[in-house]
Amino acid sequence: MLDPVDSLKKINKDLKHSGVRFKTGPFNIAVTSNIPSVAKHIHHFYRHYQKITKADFVDFHVEVNSVGGYRRFYKPQVTFVFDGYEPFIPLPIEQAPAMFEWGLNWCVANVAHQYLIIHSAIIEKDGRGLILPGTPGSGKSTLCAALVNQGWRLLSDEMALLSITDGLVYPAPRPVSLKNKSIQIIKQFAPNAIFGDVVMDTLKGDISHMVAAKEAIVEQEVPVKPALLVFPHYQENSKKQLIVQKKSRALMALGEHAFNFNVLGDAGFDCMANLVEQVDCYDFTYSDLESALSGINSLV
């Protein structure tokens, strides 16, 4: 693990010079940054992750730095660079930790084509994987955060990495990203959960991250066999409805949530079809967390 005795000061220094290197699931990450809030974020969220050495292969070399020139003094900004490429326009520097997380998501979604990557939360209980695909606002991260605080293992709140060779889902546990009202809902639901600072007024609204449980990090190399595919839909004032979904409909819906299905072509289509065939598929509409959790827990 990143040495827990490493002080924030040391992480700050390493980030500015040699970089901080750690492993999340199948990915080795090396990050450099000259921004103190990124050092604080890494110290807060990643200090328990397995450290890698300079000799280890690195999948993602990323830089999260402040923009130079006069910008340093007038509306300072942050850039995210992956292997010399800037996938995003600069953002206000207050959003640097969030940009680091979004940038890592971008790296995985655009590079890790050994997996079918589904935009979903993925958690596990008793060896059964639950995939919760969802568009923003569907409530997948909120449900995921609540369920991991009820004993489910976190594999990812953002992307399910479905192996096209063995059909298993591989973990890459990182902080759970919560937005707007969900932050307070989960803070009330799980008072012992550890959060970072709230980053206000991002393109996605107010953002706060919840620390991934140590168990999730310890088991970050243990894949899971998917058992349930639930498409959540948060709808204010709606009645809870958990409906079995036809496999054909689930396959069509899954196509909407797979980042790299067209990159993988036939192999991606086969992978999705095999997934829907082996799992129970549901469409799930809910309006409040309590009824949502009872609905999900009724499936296991």
Partner: protein, 89 residues
């Protein structure tokens, strides 16, 4: 496995996963997925395999219990629809 997989590599690069009621077709040339009733997917496979129009009409007539004229209209509409979504030329 409860589904049936059909690969059609003639004219179009199509792959079909058929379940009892519905089928999903993937066109690897366009990258599009299509949801069809399984009977209509079956007709698509027959069309792409070059089966005669008369045989298709007979099959439609038997499946939907309709007369030849109605079956022909159905088939013409199906051709147009499949052309529109690039499943047939």
């Amino acid at each position: 496995m409860s589904f049936n997989v059909v690969n059609i590599l003639v004219a179009n690069k199509l792959k079909i996963y058929q379940w009892q009621e519905e089928s999903v077709i993937y066109n690897s040339e366009s990258g599009d997925m299509h949801l069809l009733l399984s009977f209509q997917a079956e007709l698509l496979i027959l069309i792409l395999n070059g089966i005669s129009k008369a045989q298709l009409i007979k099959k439609i007539s038997e499946n939907y219990q309709v007369d030849k004229e109605e079956s022909e209209v159905f088939l013409d509409n199906l051709y147009l629809e499949y052309q529109k979504i690039n499943l047939i030329d």
